[in-house]
């Protein structure tokens, strides 16, 4: 692996941590349910870095969390988070970044904003919630439908994050096109 990829993987893992630690970034919707910017980190990693590097960045996050660093939203971290009901979402970030990155390079010929939005929605919402809901059903003995009900409240926030991710991708594509690694070879 090239040095540059290595650094970029570490960088997006760090951006993910920063998004989680940012206290003022909560989106005030859905009746005060704390919504953090963290899952946007997974969308960004996939959309910006591409499938492989994006997924590796999320794996690095998981690894550092398991090592004991409190880098998840609200200062959570350590091995405990892998036993919470939302552990499925944590593993889902890897798949979310991979799918978002894959879609981004698949839609290479389309407009940046549209393809980044599609990539974020499919990767960061559809795939992520599939993992999250399955994980929650597994951990809590609820049926998939009931587990889905407990998660749906977060969807509006994630839709906003997908739009923001697409806006960022578009701006970066304009300001520094070579930085959109998911589209360059």
């Amino acid at each position: 692996m090239k040095d540059r990829s290595l650094v970029q993987i570490a960088l997006y893992a760090a951006i993910f941590a920063v998004l989680g630690l940012m206290p003022k970034f909560d989106l005030p919707i859905a009746g005060g349910v704390p919504i953090t910017a963290q899952s946007m980190g997974a969308m960004l990693a996939g959309v910006m870095l591409g499938a492989k590097r994006g997924a590796l960045a999320m794996l690095l996050v998981l690894f550092v969390v398991a090592l004991g660093a409190p880098i998840l939203a609200g200062g959570r971290g350590g091995l405990g988070v892998f036993f919470t009901p939302s552990a499925g979402f944590i593993f889902g970030w890897v798949a979310a970044a991979f799918v978002a990155g894959g879609l981004m390079s698949l839609l290479r010929r389309q407009a940046v904003f549209a393809s980044a939005l599609i990539a974020s929605v499919v990767g960061g919402i559809v795939v992520l919630y599939a993992f999250g809901i399955a994980g929650m059903a597994l951990k809590t003995d609820l049926s998939l439908i009931d587990a889905a009900k407990a998660c749906l409240i977060f969807i509006p926030g994630d839709a906003i994050k997908a739009v923001l991710t697409a806006l960022v991708a578009q701006t970066v594509a304009r300001g520094m096109p070579e930085a959109l690694l998911s589209r360059t070879r």
Binding site: V7, L11, A17, L79, G175, A179
Partner: protein
């Protein structure tokens, strides 16, 4: 950066990291097939006794569970709704016990000991040309990037306020990404200039 690690030495600090991880994995596997309230309550009580034996600083970390409470209440409610309140209580007790137990391993194990303990698991990565030392380097870089990125965000926010008098919020994201990517290019060049990241084989 704040850490979940307990600086004060306890008896559990002396247990090798590998054993603690193995015990955690075995316990989590062993309790999976059971869902009796008595058993899960007993497990949670045992974990709390463990916390008491680790001292006051450890007990204070139980407060980490607080953000989880709304979710647990919702999940318990869903169980009640579908007509199995006892199963719901067992589920909540199991979750609490396992989260606390896993956190106890984190609390009493230094990060580099944990790194050493998982190194054998990382060894197969060499097949993909990624040495465990490159992973260690990435972990270190990531942890170093976090405060750096915070400072960068603050600087961008300040200059935005100076120009407009308002808080930047999400508008800072795009310049932030461009700045950070530039930072990563410089870091990569510096890394290459110093001989590059460790390769698959140890030299």
């Amino acid at each position: 950066m704040i850490s979940l690690y307990l600086a004060e030495r306890t008896w559990a600090h002396g247990v090798p990291a590998g054993w603690k991880l193995l015990a955690l994995a075995l316990i989590s596997l062993a309790i999976t097939p059971f869902d009796s309230v008595a058993l899960m309550g007993g497990l949670l009580a045992a974990v709390l006794v463990l916390y008491v034996s680790l001292g006051r600083a450890a007990l204070r970390q139980v407060a980490l569970l607080r953000p989880l409470l709304p979710l647990l209440v919702i999940l318990l409610g869903l169980h009640w709704w579908t007509g199995s309140l006892t199963a719901g209580i067992a589920m909540v007790l199991r979750l609490l016990a396992m989260i606390l137990l896993a956190n106890a391993v984190t609390m009493t194990t230094r990060m580099d000991d944990m790194m050493d303990a998982v190194e054998p698991i990382l060894r197969p990565l060499a097949l993909f040309g990624l040495s465990p030392r490159a992973v260690a380097l990435m972990v270190a870089m990531m942890l170093r990037f976090v405060p750096l990125l915070f400072a960068l965000w603050e600087a961008l926010g300040e200059s935005y306020r100076a120009r407009t008098g308002k808080r930047g919020g999400w508008r800072l994201l795009a310049p932030f990404c461009i700045q950070t990517l530039r930072l990563s290019h410089h870091t990569a060049e510096a890394l290459t200039a110093r001989g590059g990241a460790p390769r698959g084989k140890r030299r």
